[in-house]
């Protein structure tokens, strides 16, 4: 381990010997975070974005209506389609104003096309079942790859809990009332009224109790989806990740140079194990990548980007992306024969994978097929993760998929790189 760390330290020493490093490590990335942030609307005043949620209400009851109203109130970025559609067809139902309705087939298709991010189905008998105390369910569907659903799901769950809880309270109250002789209702309307009062009261109590949930959701959405957050959040994460690639891919040229200047061969002829040598070289690149992320995010913080509520998740994303890219760089390095080839291959990889993966602009403005294709780029996955954290207030559990994909791909690249690596 000592030798591995010495190799890493020596690499870092060599890297920082070159004064030009600061241009690539700080100056250019900072400028790009700023410019790309502006291009993505960093200083434009814009209304908060709205998220489409399809709703099919088979029940049409008062409780269902109440439920939907609560849902709107829980998170005012949600637009329930087709109920809340506007004259411009914000819901993208693509039909004449009178025919903008929704059935399950269409709704399923819309999920796939991402016209809507989630679908709620309130089944027939929802209210009746709830009041009878028999289980009633609301069907919730979303495309798991999208970033927003965790947020929508949280809002739905909060409202479901509240509604459920209020109903339970109402039932308990009525049962108690029925069993007490002093409390006599003049008629059923009176009894219903009493029930309704308890329901309202209970709901209010629930709302109070759930104030934290409410607060997080509303506050987060309002604060985080400001244009500044969107523009510079995009450029910090995007340019940061792209520059991590540049920094880490420097290994391609460096390994060729070290072969040319024979220092690599000298190391091989010394009592240094393969894992120490490769490990040391990879660790130094990994550290450089993390420094690069730190620089980009520092610039982002300076521009006023809010990094959400889970810094650990941010770091986890940075670590897994940098690991993945480091392994990829060392795999590619095994194919390189000259520094010229190495620099042009690096450039080619970075300048296709970065925009394809949504480093320059958010992937939700590109067509579906491009978004899918874009996910061959590790950047697409890390950007999914960053967006979930920066825009949609996610936490570590929200970004598990990107983390696993990046680490998995990294492991495969690593295995191939180690197998292919030759010193000659």
């Amino acid at each position: 381990m000592q030798k591995l760390l010495n190799i890493t330290l020596n690499d870092l020493r060599v890297i920082f010997r070159d004064r030009g490093i600061w241009i690539n490590l700080v100056l250019v990335p900072a400028a790009l975070v700023f410019i790309i942030g502006l291009a993505n609307g960093g200083f434009v005043t814009e209304t908060t974005p709205r998220l489409r949620v399809d709703v099919i209400d088979y029940d049409g009851s008062a409780l269902a209506t109440q439920f939907l109203a609560d849902l709107r109130a829980a998170n005012d970025t949600l637009v329930l389609c087709p109920l809340d559609n506007d004259a411009e067809d914000f819901c993208r139902l693509r039909a004449g104003a009178s025919e903008r309705t929704l059935d399950e087939d269409l709704a399923r298709q819309r999920l796939i096309n991402r016209d809507a991010l989630a679908l709620l189905i309130i089944p027939q008998g929802f209210e009746a079942n709830m009041q009878a105390g028999t289980p009633a369910s609301i069907i919730y569907r979303s495309d798991e790859e999208a970033n927003a659903p965790s947020l929508i799901q949280q809002a739905v769950q909060a409202v479901v809990q509240r509604t459920g809880g209020a109903l339970v309270a109402e039932r308990v109250g009525l049962d108690v009332a029925d069993s007490l002789e002093i409390l006599q209702f003049s008629d059923t309307a009176d009894r219903d009224d009493f029930g309704q009062q308890i329901f309202t009261r209970a709901q209010a109590l629930w709302a109070e109790n759930l104030v934290t949930v409410n607060f997080t959701l509303n506050d987060a959405i309002e604060r985080q989806l400001s244009p500044r957050q969107q523009g510079f959040g995009q450029s910090t994460a995007g340019m940061g990740s792209m520059y991590v690639m540049f920094t880490v891919f420097g290994a391609l040229v460096v390994l060729i140079d070290e072969r040319k200047q024979w220092t690599l061969q000298r190391l091989v002829m010394m009592p240094v194990a393969r894992w120490q040598l490769l490990g040391g070289k990879m660790l130094s690149r990994f550290i450089m990548g993390m420094i690069q992320y730190a620089v980009a995010f520092a610039v982002g913080a300076f521009m006023g980007v809010n990094f959400g509520r889970d810094p650990l998740a941010i770091v986890a994303l940075m670590v897994s992306f940098t690991l993945c890219i480091t392994a990829l760089a060392f795999l590619l390095a095994t194919f390189m024969r000259s520094s010229e080839q190495a620099s042009s291959v690096s450039l080619l990889f970075i300048l296709t994978l970065a925009p394809l993966g949504g480093a320059w602009w958010p992937l939700d403005i590109v067509p579906e097929w491009m978004r899918t294709l874009g996910h061959i780029s590790p950047i697409a996955w890390v950007m999914d993760g960053f967006r979930a954290l920066l825009y949609f207030n996610g936490d570590l559990s929200t970004v598990v998929t990107p983390l696993l994909v990046l680490l998995g791909a990294g492991a495969v690249f690593f295995a191939l790189a180690v197998r292919r690596f030759r010193y000659e």
Binding site: Q2, K3, N6, I7, N10, R13, V14, R17, D18, Q261, W262, T263, Q265, R266, L267, V268, M269, M270, P271, V272, A273, Y423, E424
Partner: protein
């Protein structure tokens, strides 16, 4: 029987080119290097010297065969074997932007040195290569000879029992060359190290070696002390006639062989300055004769008769060059 430091058996290296053809860089080399000796591998460029060193130092895997460094197999126990080895590669293998001391420090750590011991060894090595004053300067500010000396120093840090030096004098001025040759003697005599030294210069080989292996086309074609090898060509002198770019007919050589005292005559045609930066070389007629000076007038006469314009004539006592020429029919030149 002296103790063996390096024992190589059946070493083969076949490189595969991109176009599918193969290069047999080393073909079945056996080698024994004894403890405390300076052994030199002498051979022209491309003979397979560096490839051999690379195999017995664990840099490249042999296509066949193995080598033992003090009984440790370089292929099966590479870590143990490498610990005993100090390497001075043919190319300068240093970090150009780091200082001499930083280079020594880093590579010393790779040999497992550290702390006060490392510090002391670096000072000693800097003394030994006479670069104490420049230790803080970057390698890329050094002259070729100074770089060569640091390159050597790195290989000596951990007091190896065995040092490989692959053409350590290539491309440096005579003064620095002298210095390096003296260093090699000091390694053997003061530090009791075993040295494997490769060169394409027969003068170096002749001066330094306790024993010499002559290598050509990936094979060891002669092995022994300088004296033993020279005896192979007998007591013959060599007459070297530079003849420029002229064509030499085969019957001229036949006629030369008829001269009294002469045992053989060879013609090495001129080489164009195509490959590398080498200048074009003159054609050379080499005549082996028991008593060179006696045969000289007749030899010149024959050249005159054949209207060959002789640019220069030289008479040489038996040496390794003669051995090489004798064995291969080619001159040993860069």
């Amino acid at each position: 029987m002296p103790e063996t430091m390096v024992q190589a058996r059946g070493l083969v290296k076949t490189y595969r080119r991109k176009d599918g053809s193969t290069v047999e860089a080393v073909r079945n080399i056996d080698l024994d290097i004894y403890k405390g000796e300076i052994f030199s591998l002498l051979g022209p460029n491309g003979a397979g010297k560096s490839t051999t060193i690379s195999m017995i130092s664990g840099l490249i895997e042999p296509t066949a065969g193995d080598a033992q460094i003090a009984r440790y197999s370089i292929t099966k126990q590479p870590m143990e074997a490498k610990k005993l080895l100090g390497i001075v590669p043919q190319d300068i293998a240093l970090y150009p932007t780091l200082s001499a001391r930083q280079n020594l420090d880093f590579f010393g750590r790779m040999y497992g040195l550290g702390g006060a011991e490392l510090h002391k060894r670096i000072d000693e090595v800097l003394d030994f290569i006479d670069l104490k004053e420049r230790q803080k300067d970057r390698i890329d500010t050094f002259s070729g000879g100074m770089k060569r000396r640091v390159n050597i120093g790195v290989g000596l840090l951990h007091r190896p029992q065995l040092v490989y030096m692959d053409e350590p004098t290539v491309g440096i001025d005579p003064q620095n060359r002298r210095r390096i040759l003296d260093t090699v003697f000091r390694l053997r005599d003061e530090q009791k190290m075993t040295v494997l030294y490769t060169t394409h210069l027969m003068e170096e080989s002749q001066e330094l070696s306790d024993r010499v292996g002559i290598i050509d086309h990936g094979k060891i074609i002669a092995l022994g002390t300088v004296g033993e090898l020279v005896q192979k060509v007998g007591e013959e002198d060599r007459l070297i006639l530079k003849v420029g770019q002229q064509k030499i007919a085969a019957e001229v050589l036949e006629r030369l062989k008829q001269v009294e005292q002469v045992t053989s005559a060879l013609y090495d045609p001129p080489q164009q300055a195509a490959e590398g930066a080498d200048e074009a070389t003159d054609g050379v007629i080499t005549v082996f004769a028991k008593r060179g000076r006696r045969a000289l007038p007749d030899v010149i006469q024959i050249a005159n008769d054949a209207s060959i314009d002789v640019l220069s004539v030289e008479v040489r006592e038996p040496d390794l060059e003669a051995v090489f020429l004798h064995l291969t029919g080619r001159a040993l030149r860069d």
